[in-house]
């Protein structure tokens, strides 16, 4: 009976024009966003006539793959030394000149590797001041830079420093460099798509209960044998099935397009080539992609369950939709108007904490934020995941409870 009811509930939701529009929009967005990532991939070079040439899109990706091919694979310290040497040429002073002019295939690598070489004041050292010995000690330099930045951020918390170093120790070395996904904006777009899907599906889920309260349809429904708890569960399952289908299809379309164009093998690249070589996460680009999508999905469902709870409490569909959008944007709003431990805790604990514009699981995964509680600290991505995983069933239980207790 439950399956039949869920089928009919989904049929009812699908009968609405708004549902069709929202789902079509999500589908179009996933394709457009994948193509946008590709479109904004560029390569500029100076041709034989000395003219600046800029190519974009598929051609740029193919060209970049071709010219970066020799540098792909494990980036041993010997190879790092070689990269610096190639750029330096015969004259050590040319290094910055080559870097500034751009166009050299190793520029992309240099830009990442250079970050760990800092002077005593923590400022980046000029490329000309990095000699072979420094280049050979890249990973040692990197670990020192990580430890220094954590110590500077949490000077009074040795436990956090230890935890950060312990996470960092799991980072696989040497890094693996493969041109592709890690060098594009795709990871940011995965997040953006996740946020947009949260917003669209929140709008879809917002009227699930409140619309029936508003029209009076609920009076009839709750008088039926399977009304109340069973109906609440049916509505919840239907909302989750629709949202999951939407998320899965849209995310799959996006990832298949992006991964195919940039190359599935590019997912083996170390994540440190996407954001910063000092990123703590011991993951490849593919690992980050999987984790971002998986935790993004849990956060997405947590947000949908939160919206369903709001819907079971509000009397009109418009109010629940407005509240849905407010709570979608709340973590980003909070984190952009302030900073500090409490703000971080709130931003991470909010249901949309993992999928915000300025506060998300991806940003936290590639950052070094630890949430402090007394003497101890928790790495923020863990908090986001655990909070979302706890909130998901909690909000659903509350939704059923609120729906059954509802009286107009």
């Amino acid at each position: 009976m439950m399956i039949r009811l869920i089928g009919l509930e989904i049929k009812k939701v699908f009968a609405s024009r708004m549902t069709k529009i929202l789902l079509a929009l999500a589908l179009v967005l996933s394709i457009v966003m994948a193509l946008t990532v590709i479109h904004y991939t560029t390569w500029s070079y100076t041709d034989k006539q000395g003219k600046e040439v800029k190519i974009t899109g598929f051609k740029a990706i193919e060209a970049n793959k071709e010219r970066m091919k020799p540098y792909e694979g494990p980036l041993t310290e010997e190879r790092i030394e070689e990269v610096f040497r190639i750029n330096r040429g015969d004259n050590k002073e040319d290094v910055e000149d080559i870097y500034e002019k751009g166009g050299h295939p190793t520029k992309m690598l240099l830009a990442s590797l250079w970050q760990v070489y800092q002077d005593d004041e923590g400022l980046p050292r000029p490329l000309s001041k990095i000699d072979d010995r420094d280049a050979r000690n890249f990973y040692g330099q990197r670990d020192a830079a990580v430890a220094a930045s954590i110590a500077a951020k949490y000077p009074h918390s040795p436990e956090i420093q230890e935890k950060a170093i312990a996470i960092n120790e799991q980072v696989e070395k040497p890094f693996t460099f493969v041109y592709g996904y890690a060098n594009s904006d795709a990871a940011d777009y995965v997040l953006l798509l996740n946020i947009l899907l949260v917003m669209l599906c929140s709008i879809l889920a917002a009227p699930f209960f409140s619309s029936d309260y508003q029209t009076g349809a609920d009076d009839i429904l709750r008088c039926t044998r399977n009304g109340r708890t069973k109906l609440a569960c049916v509505k919840i399952f239907s909302a989750l099935i629709l949202s999951t289908a939407c998320f899965t299809v849209c995310m799959a379309i996006f990832l298949v397009i992006v991964n195919t164009v940039y190359g599935w093998d590019s997912l083996d690249a170390s994540i440190q080539f996407t954001y910063s070589v000092t990123v703590l996460a011991p993951l490849t680009a593919g690992g980050v992609q999987k984790l971002t999508v998986a935790v993004g999905f849990v956060a997405f469902l947590s947000m949908i369950s939160f919206i369903l709870m709001i819907s079971s409490k509000t009397r009109t569909a418009v109010v629940s939709m407005i509240l849905a959008l407010v709570f979608c944007l709340l973590p980003s709003l909070i984190s952009s108007i302030g900073s500090g431990n409490i703000i971080e805790w709130i931003s991470c604990l909010l249901p949309a904490g993992g999928v915000g514009l300025t506060h998300s699981f991806l940003f936290e995964l590639t950052g070094t934020t630890f949430l402090q509680a007394g003497d101890t600290g928790f790495w923020s991505p863990y908090v986001i995941f655990i909070a979302a995983a706890i909130e998901l069933p909690l909000f659903l239980i509350l939704t059923v409870r609120f729906y059954c207790k509802h009286e107009a």
Partner: protein, 291 residues
């Protein structure tokens, strides 16, 4: 089969909507009459289990309906005053959805929907979106959903609003047939809807029951107080504001025939006429003072 309402009360912050109602409803059609704000809808919503009473209880065959839960809802049919439907849902899909909620099997669903579509003349619109139906048609869809599970208790709040006279007559006949061995409560202020089919009428005012009885018993309250008189159109004007006028109709002579309520004949030539339930309704619920 008996529905007992014991000392039922519903109070909101600043208002008592239902005030200590006691009723014993047995099989048959029951008309619940009262002006707007009398507490009819609140009472019905409590009987439907949608509202929790502030005080008192409702029992079905001696068992509190709250305890019966699903079993009570299984024998219950309800059409609220505002029939909230899904505008883009097709008639048949909506009825299938409601049948599933009422626990009907697929086989029973198909049979029952066909039967009700036939009875309520909905066959031609089965594949139409509900929003594209006329108000009367939408109301019939609402009635159909209430009857899907062959309820032992059927509560209808203003069921005939939006129906044309022909549809109302058909609906009355359908209910009369349906009400055998069942409890049907119709809340309305369209008095003729219940006048001819109600086995008993409940009169409600300001949240309380003021009287219960058959149409014949109740109309005795206004016996000798209903008058008819023929007068010119010009003479009618002054009385319109002063009398409880039930109706005025034109006569072939050019005069008008006025039916009014009063303890004594107010106009010369007034004749006492047999009272109807509508006369009683107006007597009780019209705020106008007689001259």
């Amino acid at each position: 089969m008996k529905l007992e309402i014991k000392n039922l009360k519903k109070t909101y912050k600043d208002k008592t909507a239902v005030d200590g109602v006691n009723l014993e409803i047995t099989p048959g059609v029951w008309g619940l009459l009262g002006a707007n704000g009398a507490g009819k809808t609140t009472l019905m919503r409590m009987v439907a289990g949608i509202l929790t009473p502030t005080e008192g209880e409702i029992l079905y065959d001696g068992i509190p309906i709250k305890e019966m839960g699903e079993a009570y809802r299984d024998i219950f049919g309800y059409l609220p005053q505002t029939f909230g439907f899904y505008p883009e849902f097709r008639v048949r899909d909506y009825l299938e959805y409601m049948a599933a909620l009422k626990g009907l099997t697929r086989k029973d669903t198909a049979r029952k929907i066909e039967e009700l579509m036939e009875k309520l003349t909905l066959k031609e619109v089965r594949n139409k979106q509900i929003r594209k139906l006329s108000g009367g048609m939408q109301r019939r869809v609402g009635i159909a959903q209430a009857l899907l599970n062959n309820p032992e208790i059927l509560i209808l709040d203003e069921p005939t609003s939006g129906l044309d006279p022909g549809e109302r007559i058909r609906f009355r006949n359908l209910l009369s047939e349906f009400a055998k061995d069942r409890i049907v409560v119709i809340s309305t202020h369209i008095v003729p809807d219940v006048e001819y089919i109600a086995t008993c009428n409940i009169l409600m005012k300001d949240g309380a029951i003021i009287d219960i009885g058959t149409t014949e018993e109740l109309v005795k309250m206004v016996k000798g107080k209903v008058w008819e008189v023929s007068l010119t159109q010009e003479k009618l004007g002054p009385y319109e504001a002063r009398l409880k006028i039930i109706n005025v109709r034109n006569e072939d002579t050019g005069n008008v025939r006025m039916r009014y309520l009063s303890d004594i004949p107010v106009l010369p030539g007034s004749q006492s006429v047999p009272p109807r339930l509508e006369d009683l309704y107006l007597w009780l619920f019209s705020g106008k003072e007689e001259a």
